[in-house]
Amino acid sequence: MTTFDSVSPEEMVVAPPVADVDSQFYWDGLRARRLLVQRCAECERHRFPPMPACPSCAAPGGEAVELEPRGTIYSWIVVHQAFAPAFRGEVPYVIAVVELAEGCRLLTRLEHQEPIEAGQTVVGHYHDHGSWTELRFGVEA
C-alpha cells in the first residue's frame, strides 16, 4: 500500500514490469528496440496485451510479429497528482491509449505537448530504464 504519510527509499524507485511466460517476448522485444505483438494465425488480428489465445476468435497461440511503433491517439489523461511516490517528480505526465494502424491498442506514456488531440499521429521511441525498456510515444517531429 502506498500512502503519502510514509515513503520508503524503495518506493521512490519505479518497480520494473513483472514479465510472465506469456509476455516475456514483448519485453525482450522492447529491450532489442523492436515492438512485437501477437498475431492470430486463424483470424490474423493483432492483439495486445500478450495472452495465450486470441480474444477475438479463441484460437490458441499466436505468432509474435514486429510492428512499426506508429499510431493515433484514442484517448489520454494528464496526471497532475501522482499516486505512487516514484512518479511525484514526473507530474504533470500524460498517459495515452494509442491505436496502431494494425488495429491493436497500446498503453503508453506520451511526451507532454500541447495541444493533445484524439486522432493525432504519434510515434514511439525506446526509453531505457535500468533493467527494462519502455516504448514511449510522442508527436512526430
Binding site: V18, D20, D22, I77, V79, H80, E90
Partner: protein, 386 residues
C-alpha cells in the same frame, strides 16, 4: 400475462457509521452492519441461512467469518466473490435466485472495509496479467482508468467538464439531506471547475470519497417479506454483463473497443425485459458513481437519456431533488462515501420502501440501481409491492 415466478425482496438494510478511520476491524464492522440489517428486517439472527459478499485483494472478510461472528447455526448459501464495484447488484440478484430456487430463505449481502485507513482500492495494485503494462509507467490508480474512458466519452458525445461538474454539484444537494454523507457542503459548478485537476479530466470532486465502514441488505422471499416490519423492496430484475474482451484483470481495459459505452448499455434490454418494464417507467435511479462520468454514461447506457444528452439533463436539474428523475439520492459514492456501491443499493431500498426521510422522493415505485463503472457490472430493478 403469465403469473410471475417466485420473487424475492429486500426486507431490511443495515449500516455502520462511515468514518475516515474506524479504529475497528473489518469483521467488527461487517457484523454490526449485518446485525442492523437483520434487526431492521425484523427477523431473528438465527434465521439467516445465507451470506454473500465481495472483496478486492483480501480487503474484507469471508462469509464464514460473518456466519461465525453472528453465531449462526449454519449456512445453506455462502458466496465470496473477487470483485469490486461490479458486485452489489449482482450479489443481490444471486441471493434472489438462490431464494427463489429454495436454496436459502434469508440471505445477507454485505460490503465491509477499512477503505480509507486500510488498503485503498483506488491505488492498490491489482493481481493479474495486465498490471505489468500499467504500473511501471505510472498508470496506477483506478481513477486513471475511468478518466481515460471519460475523456473519450466526453469527446465523442460532445459533452464536457461542466457536465461532470453538474453531477457533483447536484449530488451535493442530495447529500445535504443525508447525515451519513461525508461531503455535505454545497458545491457550485463554478467552484467545482475552479479546483485543480487531479487526473485530467477529473478534479477532486469528480471522485468518490474513501471511507471505512460497512453496509448490508437482508434478502428474502417476497412472500416472507410481506409479513416483516417494512414494505418489501421487490427484486423485479437483476442482470450482470461483461462485453467482449473485458480484459485480463479489473484494470485492463485495452481490449475494450468503445470507451464511450460501458456495461450498462449491454445489460439494459435484458434487465428491463426481465422486469417487464422499460426505461420510461423508471422513477428514480441510483447509479454507481465512483467518478462523475459514470453517472452520465449510466444514464445514457440505461436508456434514461438519449446518447449525448445526460449532461444537459443533469444541468437542467432533472436529477436533483426537484427534478423529474432523482438520481443518487444519498449524494452518491461521490458524497456519501465509497462503500463500493453497496450503499447505492441500500439507498435504493430505503427509497423504494419510502424510508428516505427528508430526502424521500415522491414517486418511488420503480427504481433502477447499478454496480460498476467500465467493462462489466450489474444492475437491479427494485419496485414497490405492486
Amino acid at each position: 400475462m403469465t403469473p410471475r415466478a417466485a420473487q424475492a425482496a429486500i426486507a431490511g438494510v443495515g449500516y455502520t457509521p462511515f468514518t475516515r478511520r474506524s479504529g475497528r476491524s473489518v469483521l467488527d464492522q461487517a457484523l454490526e452492519a449485518c446485525r442492523n440489517a437483520v434487526a431492521d428486517a425484523g427477523i431473528e439472527t438465527a434465521q439467516v441461512d445465507g451470506i454473500a459478499s465481495f472483496m478486492l485483494m483480501h480487503d474484507s472478510v469471508p462469509a464464514v467469518a460473518v456466519a461465525t461472528g453472528l453465531a449462526l447455526p449454519g449456512l445453506r448459501y455462502g458466496l465470496d466473490v473477487q470483485l469490486g464495484g461490479q458486485a452489489p447488484c449482482y450479489l443481490v440478484g444471486e441471493a434472489a435466485t438462490a431464494i427463489n430456487a429454495g436454496h436459502a430463505d434469508h440471505v445477507l449481502v454485505f460490503r465491509a472495509l477499512n477503505g480509507r485507513s486500510g488498503p485503498r482500492v483506488g491505488t492498490m495494485p491489482f493481481a493479474g496479467a495486465g498490471g505489468q503494462y500499467r504500473y511501471p509507467i505510472g498508470y496506477d490508480a483506478y481513477l486513471m482508468y475511468v478518466a481515460m474512458w471519460a475523456r473519450r466519452f466526453l469527446l465523442e458525445t460532445a459533452q464536457g467538464e461542466a457536465d461532470l461538474a453538474a453531477v457533483a454539484s447536484t449530488q451535493r444537494h442530495w447529500a445535504a439531506q443525508n447525515e451519513r454523507a461525508l461531503k455535505r457542503d454545497p458545491l457550485s459548478v463554478a467552484e467545482h471547475l475552479a479546483a485543480p485537476f487531479v487526473v485530467e479530466p477529473f478534479r477532486a470532486d469528480d471522485c468518490t470519497v474513501e471511507v471505512d465502514g460497512a453496509c448490508a441488505v437482508l434478502v428474502t422471499s417476497l412472500e416472507r417479506a410481506r409479513d416483516l416490519r417494512h414494505p418489501p423492496a421487490v427484486v423485479a430484475a437483476s442482470a450482470y454483463r461483461a462485453g467482449p474482451r473485458p480484459g485480463l484483470d479489473i484494470g485492463d481495459h485495452l481490449l475494450w473497443s468503445d470507451y464511450t459505452r460501458n456495461y450498462t448499455s449491454l445489460l439494459r434490454d435484458e434487465l428491463f425485459h426481465r422486469a417487464e418494464l422499460g426505461p420510461s417507467d423508471v422513477q428514480l435511479a441510483e447509479i454507481y458513481d465512483c467518478f462523475t462520468s459514470t453517472v452520465l454514461m449510466g444514464l445514457e447506457g440505461l436508456g434514461l437519456c438519449e446518447r449525448g444528452t445526460a449532461g444537459a439533463f443533469v444541468r437542467a436539474g432533472s436529477t436533483s431533488p426537484a427534478g423529474s428523475l432523482p438520481v443518487n439520492t444519498h449524494g452518491g459514492l461521490l458524497a456519501e462515501g465509497y462503500l463500493h456501491g453497496m450503499n447505492t443499493v441500500t439507498e435504493a431500498v430505503l427509497q423504494v420502501q419510502g424510508r428516505g426521510g427528508t430526502r424521500q422522493v415522491a414517486n418511488h415505485d420503480v427504481c433502477v440501481a447499478t454496480s460498476g463503472a467500465l467493462m462489466d457490472g450489474s444492475a437491479l430493478v427494485l419496485t414497490t409491492d405492486r
